[in-house]
């Protein structure tokens, strides 16, 4: 993999920040940068084919619909799904909410959807390391329905403790991250899916931090639902994906309703289209979907195995480099076993915000705070961490710049 050549595709990486310092972008876990190929695809679509999709019979409408559906098919193939198992959402958060609201709507929707209904005594299971996007929607589902939220706890070394709770026959869904956005931990998907299946529960995988960084095949993983977002995988913001097994989507009630998602509308009531259209109410994001299709093509050309290997090398270097800085504690696994590319750490005596400020002053962009995983930070007894995260364009030199900047932060605040 030629990182220099890849970096040339990302114009933003050659800019400078904070008085002429080269940008060292280590915040791809929050949002990734986009290559020219993605920007060009969006522009070409808008300049040549733009129209509202799935309505209208003119040539532009046909071309726009073809571009939108072609993107869906390529994205589906990228994650081991059939095209009609891929629902476009505005982001991954909406995908989780779509499933959670479908579950509560199921109580009154009738028909086949009754199988999704949850109520008092039923259990929704998550883990303690979830991003708020895979936590708060389930809290709210429980509030609406009277169901109970339970969670697997996290061990000191940042793994999910599979012995911390037992699933029961009242467990309706087990929702968990594929890879922690803070710790980098890769969760034991096969084991969690097996346990859920054993009690007849469904599974939802938050794949926001896995699909952009490693080969992922939802069919082989055996999960029932999965979500991921475009902007973390070199694609546009404003587009995300909900994957659902075809048989489940077909039985699920809608979340948002309105135009496009209908089969037949009368004043007395309406019936709804087959998936995925049933879950795509209104005129959808289109250039964004096309851009995400281009991002998938770009990643496919490089090869997700190569992307993953590249990132692991960077994680290895970061863990080794940070281990040599006194007073730095990595929160999460300190080896490469079942681990991906997010490295969170605290610096003794220097608050994460202050570390981040020194890094920023040197052009190093990282995330500081709780990274939308507040309960996980409480679990580790810290208010905030510094998180470096990588993508295909990140380099070993940037990792070294990070480590050097952390040393500088200690020096600046007089803790060295």
């Amino acid at each position: 993999m030629d990182v220099t050549k890849i970096r040339a595709d990302f114009p933003i990486l050659s800019r400078t920040v904070r008085d002429g310092k080269p940008l060292v972008y280590l915040d791809s876990g929050a949002t990734s940068q986009r290559p020219r190929q993605v920007l060009d695809a969006e522009r070409a679509f808008l300049e040549q084919h733009n129209a509202a999709v799935h309505r209208g019979a003119h040539q532009l409408a046909e071309e726009a619909t073809d571009a939108y559906e072609s993107a869906r098919a390529r994205i589906a193939a990228f994650v081991g799904a059939a095209p009609d198992e891929v629902v476009f959402t505005k982001n991954a958060t909406e995908g989780v909410n779509l499933v959670a609201y479908a579950f509560s709507n199921a109580a009154t929707f009738g028909g086949e959807s009754a199988r999704f209904a949850v109520g008092p005594g039923d259990e929704i299971v998550i883990t303690e390391l979830e991003h708020h996007a895979n936590l708060v929607p389930w809290q709210e589902l429980c509030r609406r329905t009277g169901a109970t939220l339970r969670w697997y706890s996290v061990t000191d070394d940042g793994r999910v403790d599979l012995d911390s709770i037992e699933l029961t026959e009242r467990t309706k869904i087990v929702a968990f991250a594929h890879q922690s956005n803070v710790l980098g931990t890769v969760l034991p998907v096969a084991e969690l899916v097996a346990r859920a299946k054993a009690v007849g529960a469904l599974t939802l995988l938050d794949a926001c931090q896995s699909v952009p960084h490693m080969p992922v095949h939802f069919g082989e993983l055996g999960v029932d639902f999965a979500v991921f977002s475009g902007h973390k995988m070199l694609g546009p913001s404003g587009v995300g994906v909900l994957y659902g097994r075809a048989e489940l989507l077909a039985a699920m009630p809608p979340f948002l309703t309105g135009g496009s998602m209908i089969e037949m509308v009368r004043m007395e009531g309406s019936t709804y289209a087959a998936p995925p259209q049933r879950f795509e109410a209104g005129v959808p994001m289109t250039s964004q979907a096309v851009g995400l299709g281009a991002a998938v093509d770009y990643l496919t050309d490089i090869g997700m195995d190569a992307v993953h290997e590249h990132e692991l090398e960077l994680v290895d270097r970061a863990l080794a480099g940070l281990a040599e800085v006194p007073g730095v504690r990595v929160v999460g696994p300190r080896d490469l076993v079942d681990r991906g590319g997010a490295v969170a750490f605290v610096v003794d005596g220097v608050h994460a915000h202050d570390v981040g400020q020194v890094l920023d002053d040197r052009g190093v962009a990282v995330r500081v705070g709780h990274h939308c995983a507040w309960p996980l930070h409480r679990r580790f007894g810290v208010a905030a961490t510094v998180r470096a995260s990588f993508h295909v364009y990140s380099t070993p030199e940037e990792v070294d710049a990070l480590v050097e900047a952390v040393r500088a932060a200690r020096e600046f605040f007089g803790v060295s």
Partner: protein
């Protein structure tokens, strides 16, 4: 280097040796404030003697900016009348939210003028204001006290 503009020596001094830190009794009102973007927290107590702010005590879990700001706050408001303390608060807030365009008045803000550099970093303005928002809230609560 831009860094020194934000972390002026006065700020670092207050951070290393905070004034008035710790929670004390008696107090008339307490406020707990949190910065949802980073999880930083402050618990701040106010004791009034008539119309005068007699004591401000606090406990923070936060960055150097939020801690130093709380320390400066105690210096600036303790001993002042409620009205005067709110004037200082207003001046501090105007400076912090001024994106570096507001010229701070040292006669009003004392050591607080050191936070003018923070105003140029929008992401850190909330850090500088956390303690002040807690103070404002505690003042309101102290009025509600029977």
């Amino acid at each position: 280097m831009q860094l020194e503009q934000m972390y002026q020596e006065i700020i670092l001094d207050h951070y290393r040796t905070p004034h008035g830190a710790g929670l004390r009794e008696p107090f008339d009102a307490e406020s707990f404030q949190i910065n949802p973007t980073c999880g930083d927290e402050i618990t701040l107590r106010v004791r009034m003697e008539g119309d005068v702010v007699a004591d401000v005590s606090y406990e923070t879990l936060g960055c150097s900016i939020s801690q130093a700001s709380a320390s400066v706050l105690t210096d600036l408001v303790v001993g002042k009348s409620k009205e005067d303390s709110l004037t200082v608060l207003g001046a501090f807030q105007a400076m912090a939210q001024g994106r570096g365009q507001v010229e701070p008045d040292e006669d009003v803000l004392g050591d607080g003028v050191a936070f003018a550099g923070v105003a140029r970093y929008p992401a850190r303005v909330k850090c500088a204001l956390l303690g002040w928002m807690a103070f404002k809230d505690a003042l309101v609560r102290s009025e509600e006290k029977p």
